[in-house]
Structure formats: C-alpha cells, structure tokens
Assembly symmetry: C2
Homo-oligomer: 309 residues x 2
Amino acid sequence: MSEAEFISRLRSIATDPAARGLADDAAVWEGLVLTHDMIIEGIHFLPDERPQDVAWKLVAVNLSDLAAKGAAPLGVLLGYSLGDDAWDKAFADGLDIALRRFGLLLLGGDTVRAPAGAPRSFGLTAIGRAPEKGAPSRSGARPGDQIWVTGTIGNAGVGLAMRLGEVESNETCLDAYRRPQPQLTFGQAVAPHVHAMMDISDGLIIDAGRMAEASGCRLGIMLESLPLSAALLAVRPDVVDTRMAAATAGDDYQLLFAADPAEAAAIREIAEGLDVRVTLLGHTAVGEGVMLTHKAQRVPLPERLGFMH
Amino acid sequence: MSEAEFISRLRSIATDPAARGLADDAAVWEGLVLTHDMIIEGIHFLPDERPQDVAWKLVAVNLSDLAAKGAAPLGVLLGYSLGDDAWDKAFADGLDIALRRFGLLLLGGDTVRAPAGAPRSFGLTAIGRAPEKGAPSRSGARPGDQIWVTGTIGNAGVGLAMRLGEVESNETCLDAYRRPQPQLTFGQAVAPHVHAMMDISDGLIIDAGRMAEASGCRLGIMLESLPLSAALLAVRPDVVDTRMAAATAGDDYQLLFAADPAEAAAIREIAEGLDVRVTLLGHTAVGEGVMLTHKAQRVPLPERLGFMH
C-alpha cells in the first residue's frame, strides 16, 4: 500500500462533505476551517535548523492552508516531541513569536518524549473561521478561468540549496525557506472573487495538477510569466531550466487561484491595496492536467513535478 | 528545561481561558471541546502491537479526554507517519472500525514518511460538542465532595505485564490494555452532576494529584475501596501492594470525578441506567495533594505516582 493507496483508503472513510474528499487544503466544517500538518526532522526540516525557525515553519505551513480557504486564523493545538532543553526553550520562544504575529490562541496539545535518537516530529492543528460566503475549494476552477499566483516562486527552493551550501547565500531566499509567510490577509480578501484556491506547498506544477484534477479541467501555465524574485535571479540565470526548477521546488506557500476574467480588476485592486504581488500565470481549458508553455511553445512536463511525500 | 518547565513556558503563551491553563484534559472553546494526543512507538505502544489496536488506542485516548469534559464526539484530524504497506493497511482498517464505533467524522490530516528506522509517531486531534451547561474542569472540586471513579482500575497495567510475558495472560486485562473504552456516554450524562472531572490516563494517584492541585484541595482516597476486577485478582493477590500497583498503573481511561454528596443518588442512577460501574473512592478536604488510606490507616504515597511523560 503506497501513500497514494493509503490516502485513497482514508478517503473511503472520510465520506462527510466537510472532509472535502481529503483532496483540499483543509476541512470546512460548521463555519470552521481545520487543518493538521506534521513536520519531521530530516524530512521537512534540516537537523541543524534553528528551533525558532522550525516553530515558525510549523505554524506557517498550517496557516497557509487556512489562507488558501480564505479563513481567519483563530487557534492551534500542538503535538510536540521533547528534545534537549536549549532546543525546546528556543522552540517555545519561536512559537510564542509566531502565534503573536498571527493572533493565534494556543488552545492545547500534547508533549511526548520520543526514544533517544529518534528524529523529532511535530504536529499542529490550526483552526480558522471560514469566510461568510463559503471557503473556496480546489475543485471549482472552470474552463476559461484565469490562473493567478501570489508573490514569487522558487525562492524557498533556492533557499534550501543555499542552506545546503550548493549556491551562494542571500537573505531573501534563505528567509523564504526559513520563514514562509502565509498569505492570510490576501486569501481572506480574494476568496469571494475566486472559483478555486489552494496553497503551493509541494511545488507549483504538482499543486496545479491537483487543482486540475479536482476541478476536472486543464491548467495552462506560461513559464515565461512565472514570477521570479531578483534574489533568485541573482544566483540563477533566467533560462527555462531555472523557471522549471522554480516551478517544481516546494515550500513556496504562495496562493494559486482560478477566477473568472471579469474578476481581474477586483483582484488587482485587492492585491495593490494589500501590497501583495499577483501574477496572471495562464488559463484553464477543457481537458485535464497541466500544460506548460514557454513563449507560446509547448514544454513537456518534467519527470519530477514537485515534492512527493 | 524539563518537560514541566517546557509546559510551564507553553502556559505563559496559552493565556486564553479556552486553553484552561493547559491544565485540563482538553480545551473548551466556542461550544467545542478540543484535544490533541500523540502516541509514539516504543513509548505509548509496543513495536509488535497489532496496528488495528494502535489505531483504536489513538482514537480512544483522545476520546477519553472528550468523555472527561462530558463532550459528544464529532470528528478527528489524523497525523500519520507511513510505515510498511501491510501495517498501514491494517491501521486504516482499525481506524475505520474505531471511527464508526464512535460515530466520528474523519475530517482531514496529514501523512508523512519518517526517515527509515525512526519510531512511528501518530497524532490525533479530536473535536466534540461541549455540554450545554458547560464542560466540567479539573479545578472545580470543593472540600466535602465525594470522589468517584468509573469501572475498575489497574487492568491495563496488568495487561501490559501480560503483553511483556511477566504474568499469565487473560483476555480481560489484555483487552483493557489494547482496547481502552472511553466512558463517553457516562461522561455526558454525569457532567451536569459533578464539580470536577478528568480521565485517568497516567495512573489514579498521579491524576488525582492533578485534580487536587487544580482544585486547591486535598483528595482522600481509600485504597480498600479501589475497584479491582476479578480478572486482575485472578493473577494478583488482594494485598495493599496490588492496590498500590493498580493505583499507579497508567492507561486505565476511566473517569475520576468529584461531586457534592447530594448528587450521589443521581450518579448511581445514571451509572445503573448505563450499566457502568461507579465506586465511591473517598472525599475531598481542605488541604492539598492526595492522602491515601487503607482501612482507616494512613499509607504513604509511593515513590512512583504513575506514568510520567
């Protein structure tokens, strides 16, 4: 039973509409948006990561799921495996900062001590208030929609390469990797204007494929439109390979959304008001999967679409 | 920073009344009761435990927290670390059975793959509906209350000894260890009649001490009244040591509650109607901590009060 088979088995259990077929960023239930993400040492964070940054990331990755549903963050429950004292203290300090930053209540949780030598694993359940007009799903994109993305793509992937010493460091990319910024305010503001929305956690292409599958349409993405930061372009040449690497790197925590072209002006106005960069990436069409183009030339999908886990 | 210091640091963050000072079984927030418990291989379950039983236990230990707040179970989010395929499949089957048994929705969650060789760790967030008249806390016991406990105490501890081959096995004790039964129906029915309630997960004495501390009074427990099962007494002699071992073993998942003596008849009637055994264990008094007696003789507290984690 592969992970896909296991999730498919869980889907056969999660039959209530609130679970959204386990195919969305979060559950939407009785006016609340609920999500639970785990992070494990050696898989989701480097063993030498700063504990404050691990705490930030644990909070931010969960809040990014809330942002994708247009939810206002309310509270969290923490599952924590104890380690050495100094690490735990620094983690708690980082958690305190992250929860204050996002106005989150720490409601409860559990602390455990794992066997010696075990990688540390943490879980967070985040709860938000669903938008009054309903939380956008991944499945609502319709042929003819415009495809948008917030921020820039690929910074965190380059930041990880910098952490691994593979490329000269700069703070912008390192920060994108260490301190992802969930697009909460923008997500809440734009939610009533979109047909579908999700966050990009595993990579733009793999996540776009998930929206295409859930929505039953094709997502066409123009690689030349992919928003790359100056910080990324400071260490990578602006060639198709760089764009493909950015589109398949994970940990961006930007929002990908599909909207009727009639909403474009409203979306740009919201983004401008909140000082959030938004980029028109392409269009949806009848069909399935993701179609990549670069300056109107079809580009085949790469073998590795993103972070599979 | 010990675990106690870490939790104390978390308490300084969890200042909202909903968190109940992280000193209760669950958070009570906007009419919901929320809890999150983790279980880790080698700590909370044996590596050779049946995966169906691990799934049951993960659900049951969280529901026991809901039972202690008189909550009606609604739904869960699962954090799951993948292992080998057969194990995962059997876990999913067990989860399906447990969720159906308790009428719980699987709302969402996360699956991750831990590094090879790492102990498996699972988290569950359980959500319930708080009782209309409020969820009992651990802190409401008052001097002069009667102290009650459901079911029998110590079966799971003996069941663990049986699993480890330390004593001849019987099904009742093994089942108590493998398949704890959260006292949900009784918890909901008795909640309006109690001053304080909690579940016994780490051992009767250590948990009673927590109620004493939270309530600011002394809990007097008569060891001769401790309800022991016939299955336990089939493998242990009925001596003070056996009673002390039962009172310090963990994993009972029975309810401990304090109530005005005027409620005794109502409590017995509820218990009889639901076919749940209840036992009057002692009384609260002005003071602090737990005072143990055996046939009116003071018995000193044991060095090990229960399962510390």
